[in-house]
Symmetry: none
Subunit: 457 residues, 2 copies
């Protein structure tokens, strides 16, 4: 632990924050074609930030959609190489009316920075950049070799980086990847995430009549595409939330009894989780599984929305010709993406209601990930965390999905350290997303310490 | 039947058509704020047309939204009074790219006039106006008293005229209302519509989590408002389309065996209806009911769309906090709006899934309408039809709802003659809306004959 890096971060933290705000003001919503230019600007911003921090060989790499940004510094022969990853794209801010301050005008309230992308992932990516700046400023060199690969499609499936990693394993080769796109288990508790769920995302399109029909003239005889989709999807789960699609649970690997024990030792208050985080009248899900199992080690199916027909203000009496549901499954270790896709498609075909035609399109798919907590890099990361935060690091899983971690494993043969500084109530993907400022600064320090310690190997 | 009126219509039919084209060229799309000025121009056009035809006391009546147009001629003491109704507003032309000729440039092909509003309802309203002109031209007087009330909000719910009728029963008092906003059952077949379904329209709002949640972090434990709504609404109907909500069928009055027999005598080809009108893979609905019963005399429930969550391009992994379904029921004679509302609300409350809260809001409600086919005005109308078209008039129902008919019944205590000259394939609300020119001219004659005959009472 270095007093010099600590001081540098403290001395420059206001500037770091102003720079991050500038980054956040770019509405780099990757899913919206109308924001394509903003996404490109965010890539340029990232490239400039990496250059300013002291990295070399900066590239803004065009892809079929949004650019990748690469940078490196490779002047520490004999030392290990760390591949830092982050994403500069963000989720749409909708519903905008629920934000207390404009989503792309970063605003500080109660020690938190509120904005879309504050924690997911611009703020956390920026911790990496500023850790590099800090190390260069203090030592005029880096303690180990470093590569950065930053993408602009994380929120839309990450297709371009997946291709790039597969095609460029030598260029990206490293000993370990470092990703900050997760959260501490609880405030003040150093946390490393060693498991992620996978994700397979579908569009299910239902067609009924050849065109939208007048519900007075045809209602009672014509099939309704929205209702057909409702009838179909309602059959997918029992009232508790257990998935009824045959074969879905076939390959599920249960966590070890030791891991389950460690989860039971974590502070978890179900009532508080319900009230403070979920805010519904009760939790749902498999009643024979504790909540951490339900969200970390069990597959789920969600319907994210249904398009088609009329859902605007007021009344329109239409029998919709088409409807599209967005449906995803979270996958757990050893579920196979292709087997889940096949099971779902077969089930949809078998359960499509009378008068309706359905088509299932897979938009993305990535399996679950587990990392060995005994890997040396993970141990150095746990040490760095402990140094900065003064407590033992806990090992958890996350129910979310970071497909790139799987790609790093598959194509580069390296594990990923998931060292995130968010908090459970940060509101990722929701209105009023926030990032605690103390965690932003602590993250910069922890990453700098980790690189220092790991470089001493 | 008067040879003189017949000749007058034939002599002037080209001018009538040119005038109608001018009316149609005004894009009076009532739902679009950017067309507000066009809607106002269409009201002025209507007022001028009524004045030119010979009517008196012309008023363009401002409302909260689009003006009403009133006119009358009340110089036939002792004779009955007919209240003519029509609407000068039109549906949006979207999708414009599917039109073969511009929607607001009336174009004649194969004896049809193609344009938005050609048949719904400018062309049919204009038949009334030209029938009045014809009678004045031939007789220098009218055979009975006439009032006109024309609205500009029919396509957006007709709120202003409903208020106006309720507030001005003396001014609008008549013996019968005459509405031409429906179609012949088939080409060449004189048709009077003597039944309309009612409509009750709801929004059902489901709430799950306090805010949209990340489906990775919370999926498996947090309730999903869109899925909750899906689970709920799927329980409302069996796979054939029969409504399972207790009490819904309680008050349904079956058509008389005689009426059912008359429906069976109508030409109806189920395969053609499926292929040419509906365009789905099959029809649905109560299997023990013939199709005309399903769409004319049976209650239905439709879900018009679901808002909430994510349904845009691409992928978003959100557990929606809120979802709103647009749900309507078509009502048949003797269903009570309030009882259906109570039954639906009770059912929703009893079937709301775990973790979800629901709220039901009624947006509108109007009961079904039946007109006694033995009413003298209906008999005169049937006679006029037979005279012009040379065939017996058939009495049908429509599955649609024309709320103004209910308002005329409730506030003025009068029945409505639904004497429309459209054809089933006119494409109302669709691209390439058309009006058969022969029907336009025939409509003018039939309405003139009806007024003559009715005035002889």
């Amino acid at each position: 632990m270095s007093q010099a890096t600590d001081s540098y971060v403290q001395l420059h933290q206001d500037r770091f924050l102003e720079e991050l705000k500038e980054f956040i003001r770019i509405p780099s919503v990757s899913t919206s074609p109308e924001h394509a230019e903003d996404v490109r600007r965010a890539a340029e911003f990232t490239a400039n930030a990496l250059r300013t921090a002291g990295l070399e060989n900066i590239e803004v790499i065009p892809t079929e959609r949004h650019p990748l940004v690469y940078a490196d510094w490779l002047h520490a022969p004999g030392k290990p190489t760390v591949l830092c990853y982050g994403h500069y794209d963000v989720q749409p801010p909708d519903p905008v009316e629920l934000w207390e301050s404009p989503p792309f005008e970063p605003t500080i309230r109660n020690g938190n920075l509120y904005a879309r992308g504050a924690v997911d992932d611009k703020g956390q990516l920026y911790m990496h950049v500023k850790a590099i700046e800090t190390l260069f400023a203090v030592y005029k060199t880096l303690p180990c070799n470093v590569k950065f690969i930053v993408e602009g499609e994380e929120e839309i499936g990450g297709a371009s980086i997946a291709k790039y990693v597969a095609a460029n394993p030598q260029k990206l080769k490293a000993d370990v990847a470092l990703v900050s796109d997760t959260a501490l288990y609880a405030e003040g508790m150093p946390t490393l995430c060693i498991g992620l769920r996978g994700l397979i995302y579908f569009e299910v399109e239902a067609s009924g009549p050849a065109r939208d029909l007048h519900s007075g003239l045809y209602g009672g005889a014509a099939p309704n595409a929205v209702y057909g989709l409702i009838e179909l999807l309602a059959k997918a789960k029992d009232p508790q939330g257990r998935i009824l699609i045959p074969g879905i649970y076939d390959d599920v690997k249960e966590p070890s009894p030791k891991e389950i024990e460690s989860w039971k030792a974590l502070p978890f208050n179900e009532q508080e989780f319900l009230e403070k985080e979920v805010g519904a009248s009760c939790l749902i899900g498999e009643p024979d599984r504790m909540v951490l199992e339900r969200v970390w080690s069990r597959p789920t199916m969600e319907v994210h929305g249904i398009g088609g027909g009329f859902s605007g203000q007021g009344a329109k009496t239409v029998i919709p010709a088409k409807a599209i549901a967005k449906v995803s499954f979270r996958l757990v270790p050893e579920q196979k993406v292709d087997r889940v896709e096949a099971a779902f498609k077969e089930w949809v075909a078998a359960n499509t209601p009378l008068g309706i035609k359905t088509e299932v399109r897979r938009l993305s798919g990535s399996p679950a990930i587990v990392v060995d907590p005994d890997h040396p890099a993970i141990q150095f990361a746990a040490q760095a965390f402990k140094q900065v935060m003064g407590r033992d690091t806990v090992f958890i899983r996350s129910g979310g999905s970071i497909p790139i971690v799987g790609d790093f494993g598959r194509h580069l043969g390296i594990p990923t350290i998931l060292m995130g500084f968010g908090l459970p109530d940060d509101g990722l993907h929701s209105p009023n997303e926030k990032f605690k400022l103390d965690n932003f600064y602590m993250g910069i320090k922890t990453i700098a310490y980790f690189l220092e310690e790991y470089g001493k190997q």
